[in-house]
């Protein structure tokens, strides 16, 4: 065994020893599991939203399907036209992905989608995954408060093969008097996912015409062939660049001219234009330097500001700044100027327990007003002028798009 392997073994053992030898009490009563909200388990997290969904069954919309899922079809609805772009106010509606109950012999947690009102948390529509899909894996929003893209996934295979996946366009009409007209799902022709490819991180451009996502064929093959893809949903054309493993699209500028990506390896934020030539991401894109002082919290040693201390880095819609949600033992959201890479402000410092991470779900034009989710999706709120205001949030929400 070489030195690195020995260090790994020691590090894993030391890390495991931080968990006490006595396990917390086992909970086998589903109702009591649901009622115990102090430390929601994966299973408990789905019970509450299911109960909530039942309570609002009267307003749950039947989803209008434009064509059979899994069968490509030409439809006027599947051609996406640009929508009006606005980052002036926090969207009135968002789409949340919510855990479903474990069924049968399943050990994977599946998710359904709900359209909710931001101000009240009311469920406007519930959208079960269209057959043959059983779960949603990702969601992203355009900047018109009405247009979304959902990534639907089929059953996971026991042999580890990639599950079938497909993107759907979701348009909402919250004012419709008929529940069945409040949400419409359309399979996207222009963003077909080839078999054996796993996609992640769908990010819709503000005007709804460009869909970026990462692809990964490492599962089950070992040789990674990761890529970043931008599909033009209006023209049906596709750009694709091979990328380092785990490269993640995160956000677009308002004009759709730049896509921001987090690149694994030496921590980097990179920007790529949909028109960038070539087929390799690194030469086709350019790096944005972000650097900050070590993150400090009372009673802890400073954490260097590197990739292991921050999660997603997003570009502001005006393209001038990079906003980073930092992790470690306290949550930070830090804004940097894109031009110099210098920190221009720590927007928040939330003390979180357990998960200690947060997502930036929405930003205004300049990145000075944000909607962020906190600590393993347990809540969300508006962050403005250093003040955090929680918004209604349902337990069991994994992620959301505004």
């Amino acid at each position: 065994m070489n030195q690195l392997e020995e260090r790994l073994r020691t590090a894993f053992q030391e890390k495991a020893s931080r968990i006490p030898p006595e396990a917390p009490p086992l909970r086998l009563d589903p109702l009591r599991r649901a009622a115990d909200g102090s430390k929601a388990s994966v299973t408990r997290r789905w019970l509450a939203p299911v109960a909530a969904a039942a309570a609002v069954a009267a307003v749950a919309a039947a989803v209008t399907m434009a064509g059979a899922a899994g069968h490509p079809m030409q439809s006027a609805d599947s051609v996406v036209r640009p929508v009006p772009v606005s980052f002036a106010t926090i969207p009135s509606y968002y789409v949340a992905l919510v855990r479903l109950p474990l069924s049968g012999n399943a050990t994977e947690v599946d998710m359904t989608a709900q359209v909710r009102a931001t101000g009240t948390g009311a469920v406007i529509a519930t959208l079960p995954p269209p057959r043959p899909y059983v779960s949603y894996e990702g969601v992203s929003a355009a900047a018109d408060d009405r247009t979304f893209v959902l990534e639907a996934r089929g059953r996971l295979h026991r042999d580890g093969a990639a599950p079938t996946e497909r993107f759907y366009l979701l348009r909402i009409n919250p004012a419709a008097s008929l529940a069945s007209q409040r949400a419409k799902l359309t399979p996207l022709q222009a963003a077909l996912i080839p078999p054996s490819v796993v996609v992640s991180d769908p990010v819709l451009s503000p005007n709804g015409t460009l869909l970026a996502f990462s692809t990964d064929v490492i599962w089950p093959a070992a040789d990674s062939a990761d890529a970043v893809v931008i599909d033009n949903l209006s023209t049906g054309t596709r750009r694709q660049w091979s990328a380092p493993t785990f490269t993640q699209p995160t956000s677009w500028t308002a004009n759709g001219r730049y896509l921001a990506l987090n690149v694994f390896g030496p921590p980097q934020v990179r920007l790529v234009s949909p028109d960038a030539p070539g087929d390799r991401l690194i030469p086709a894109s350019r790096a944005v330097t972000v650097d900050g002082p070590p993150l400090r919290a009372p009673g802890h040693k400073p954490v260097p500001f590197d990739k292991s201390s921050w999660d997603t880095a997003s570009i502001t819609p005006d393209g001038r700044s990079i906003v980073i949600a930092a992790r470690a033992y306290a949550g930070y959201v830090v804004r940097f100027t894109r031009a110099t890479g210098e920190e221009v402000g720590t927007l928040t410092k939330l003390t979180a327990s357990g998960g200690n991470w947060q997502q930036v779900l929405w930003m205004n034009e300049t990145g000075t007003t944000l909607v962020i989710s906190e600590n393993s999706g347990s809540g969300a709120g508006i962050l403005k002028n250093g003040h955090y205001s929680p918004i209604p949030w349902a337990e069991g929400t994994v992620t959301a798009a505004f």
């Binding site: 790994l8 053992q13 009591r32 947690v109 070992a222 390896g265 590197d306 999660d311």
Partner: protein, 188 residues
């Protein structure tokens, strides 16, 4: 797996029971699953924690694995393989958590331990560096490293758990170590 006093095994604590515990009288499935949990719950939480770096999520996936086992208890054909089932169930759930995190553009977080004199003496900083570097790896590489260097499993068993070929395990391991080495070198 860590053993426990068999007398404790029949006790299943239910939420709302406070610090006390009460026996799940007349429920053989609950008794059996409770005994298994007493025996292996903590070690499975440790396994999940090493992969997820999130104690709450680790406890959640283990709770769910046992709850799933409890619900299926009467249909289980091969109870000799229950421990294997539990470990697979926990690993699947960890994979699912990591995948959902990836879908949310989240990397696995790393909770820094509170500094202590003892930890400093034992070189915890270096171990922190290693763990941070591991947390930057793609989920499949991380899982392979944990199965090999935390659980000491052979390639064949890792391949079975990860549902890949033996050769895939070896190449994944090779790539993971090479990448890890590069990250550590660049960080130093």
């Amino acid at each position: 797996m860590e053993g426990n006093d068999a007398g404790e095994a029949a006790l299943i604590r239910l939420p709302g029971a406070g610090a006390g515990a009460r026996p799940a009288a007349g429920n053989p499935a609950a008794d059996a699953v409770g005994a298994l949990y007493q025996e292996s719950g903590a070690s499975l939480i440790r396994l999940a924690y090493v992969i997820l770096s999130d104690r709450q999520a680790a406890e959640d996936v283990v709770q769910d694995a046992f709850f799933s086992l409890y619900r299926r208890w009467d249909q289980l054909a091969d109870r000799d393989r229950i421990r294997q089932y539990l470990r697979t169930s926990v690993l699947n759930a960890c994979r699912s958590v990591l995948r959902h995190r990836k879908a949310r553009s989240q990397h696995v977080l790393y909770e820094l331990p509170a500094p202590s004199v003892e930890a400093a003496v034992l070189g915890s900083e270096e171990r922190d560096d290693v763990i941070r570097a591991v947390d930057q790896l793609p989920a499949r590489m991380r899982e392979a490293l944990v199965l090999r260097y935390y659980l000491d499993l052979p390639d064949e068993e890792i391949a079975r758990l990860m549902r890949v070929r033996n050769g895939t395990v070896r190449s994944t391991m090779h790539r993971a170590l090479a990448t890890l080495s590069r990250i550590l070198r660049e960080g130093s």
